[in-house]
Amino acid sequence: MSYTGQGTATALIGAPATRPSRHAGAILLVGPLVLYMAVFYAAPVLAMLARSVLDPHLTLQNLVRLAGDEVFFHVFGNTLLTAVIVTLGTLLLGYPVALALSRMRGMAATVTLVVVLLPFWTSVLVRSYAWMVLLGRHGLINEALRGAALIDAPLRMLNTAFAVYVAMIHILLPYMILPIASVLRQVDPALPRAAASLGASPWGVFEQVVLPLSMPGVIAGTLLVFVLSLGFYITPALVGGPRDMMLSQLIAQQVDLLNWPYAACLSATLLAATLLLLLLCQSLPGVRGALRQSMR
């Protein structure tokens, strides 16, 4: 069952080669878009990134400064930490849902799927706003607790790291659930039965058969959530505090201050980290198959 449409990216690259006479036509078809994106997207981004080493002449001084920059390390460390926490959170909360989803049929399955896909119907901005409304000093949770006389003073939940974690987990949960559910659905239903008939208890069936077979989906989901977390901007900006700044916020701040070389270095770092992760995991045995399997 195709939960995400992105698997066809791999299909694109995997198509068989064709005769040279078709190349001319192909270039005419693909050329305009390639040209367009080169001019309006690739060149600008590359030019900006170049500012990290061209300032205005070739120099590595900015990168060197970065290596010693305390603020950078703090922010980068926080970004990594947030990504790890959010990934773990989505894994812990998402796996049971994926498991249940793969076993459901009919109306229950439809309802669950709709709820899981619900966040996709709302922009990140709206979802972040929802958490502002929930966690604010005069937000819904505090008002409810005050109304029930459970607390006197409002709890400080907004503009904290906690708020960032909760909101990001909320937003990224579907990206963990869908790949895992997709892989689980492809497991031969006879396998858990065979395991039970051979004497495995329900927990044993899960631990020894279902869990190992779900690994490709877990890997794909983990990768996806982690990479997406690194680049998050809107949510931490809205619900996070000044001490919970993430790398993208630092970049935006530096651009506001017109510190282009510095901002460029930071961007290069963020981009490099993202690409490195993707490349690293692509080379792990079985991961490429895992991605393909979970995107089907």
Binding site: A196, S197, G199, G204
Partner: protein, 390 residues
């Protein structure tokens, strides 16, 4: 399978009383090794649909019993209830005298072979086979030994390190079998295990399974829709139709003495003729079919004047010379040959009877037999003993 392997397999008795001190040799005493299974009034409804509508069956220790029937007949559902994957809506299942309806599948200690083998793709052959032993807490060394013995028993020695995807269909099936018996269950359930294999492979594995059954001596309950397979392998067959048992008995009985139209046409081919009972003589019924009086074995009570359907197997009929009166072949009929199909060892004729009925006749090919051509008129004859009331 060689006898020494099977000897070693069963000599490790672990103090297990059910194997006891059976002395064992080739064709040795296998008594008591298989479970007795008792199905009493088994019913299963899915919403308003009755899949199984009252099945009662006693399966003896060490018996090879086949549940035979078309798809949707309820045979697989019955098997699943014995295994514990479906709960009966009514009725009871007892294994070795103890009711198991409340026991979850993983505690029933029953071996099971699934249609598509259900081998764990992420485990090697050895790990697959060792799986049930691991659940039972057996130590590594013993597990390895049992796995090796198991593989030898299904004639796949040395395959421990392979993965299921590296095996052919037949090999996977044998691994599935090895896995299902390695923990020495007293009962083995099989859900159309040979369905996905080609004809030649299927026939080979059928014989292997019969051999395995004889060596192990445990109870086999086999589900299939292939009647030929059932006839080859079973001690007894329960023909299942629409949730009920249409007939239960050894293969010969089902073939020679079908009790109803369904069994007569599901197993092998049958010719049907209708008539009215006019008399009873020496255990044979005299039936008036309009164009002749036929004699039929009185396999069921049929009062004079009642309408009956008679059935005969196509290979029990033969062409006769019009004047000839061979002894013991009491029933005759004039026919026109409609179609002749030569199939190597046999010739299959489609005939048109006196009243326009379609009959099938199968004849062994040979130098002595003359092949009849379509359009030819002929006379056929068959024994009263081969004519059965359904």
């Amino acid at each position: 399978m060689d006898a020494s392997t099977s000897v070693r397999y069963f000599q490790e008795s672990n103090g297990d009383a059910s194997f006891g001190a059976c002395s064992y040799g080739e064709g040795g005493n296998t008594a008591g090794r298989g479970a007795k299974v008792s199905l009493v009034g088994l019913e299963k409804r899915f919403d308003a649909v009755g899949a199984v509508c009252g099945i009662s069956l006693e399966i003896g220790s060490g018996e090879f019993l086949t549940l035979l029937g078309p798809s949707g007949s309820g045979k697989t559902t019955t098997l699943m209830m014995i295994a514990g994957f479906e709960t009966p809506t009514a009725g009871d299942i007892a294994i070795d005298g103890r009711s198991v309806v409340g026991t979850p599948p993983h505690k029933r200690n029953i071996g099971m072979v699934f249609q598509n083998y259900a081998l764990f793709p992420h485990l090697t052959v050895a790990e697959n086979i060792a799986f049930p032993l691991k659940q039972r807490g057996m130590d590594r060394a013993t597990r390895a030994r049992r796995v090796a013995d198991s593989l030898a028993m299904v004639q796949l020695p040395g395959y421990e390190a392979r993965y299921p995807r590296q095996l052919s269909g037949g090999q996977q099936q044998r691994v599935a079998l090895a896995r299902a018996i390695v923990f020495r269950p007293r009962l083995l359930l099989m859900d159309e295990p040979l369905g996905a294999l080609d004809k030649q492979l299927r026939e080979n594995l059928q014989l292997e399974m019969r051999r395995l059954h004889a060596e192990l001596g445990i109870t086999f309950v086999y589900v299939t829709h292939d009647q030929e397979e059932a006839l080859i392998m079973s001690d007894r067959i329960a023909v299942v139709n629409e949730g009920r048992i249409a007939q239960l008995g050894p293969p010969e009985e089902l073939y020679d003495r079908p009790r109803n139209r369904f069994v007569a046409s599901f197993i092998g081919e049958s010719n049907f003729l209708s008539g009215v009972v006019r008399g009873i003589e020496d255990g044979f019924l005299i039936v008036d079919c309009g164009w002749a009086m036929l004699r039929a074995a009185a396999t069921r009570p049929a009062p004079i004047g009642s309408a009956v359907t008679l059935t005969t197997r196509p290979e029990r009929m033969r062409f006769v010379d019009p004047g000839a009166m061979p002894i013991g072949i009491e029933n005759r009929m004039r026919v026109t040959v409609r179609e002749t199909v030569f199939a190597g060892e046999r010739c299959r004729y489609l005939l048109r009877g006196e009243n326009g009925e379609t009959l099938i006749l199968k004849e062994q090919s040979g130098a002595a037999t003359r092949r009849r051509a379509p359009g030819e008129m002929a006379e056929i004859a068959w024994a009263a003993a081969d004519t059965v009331v359904v």
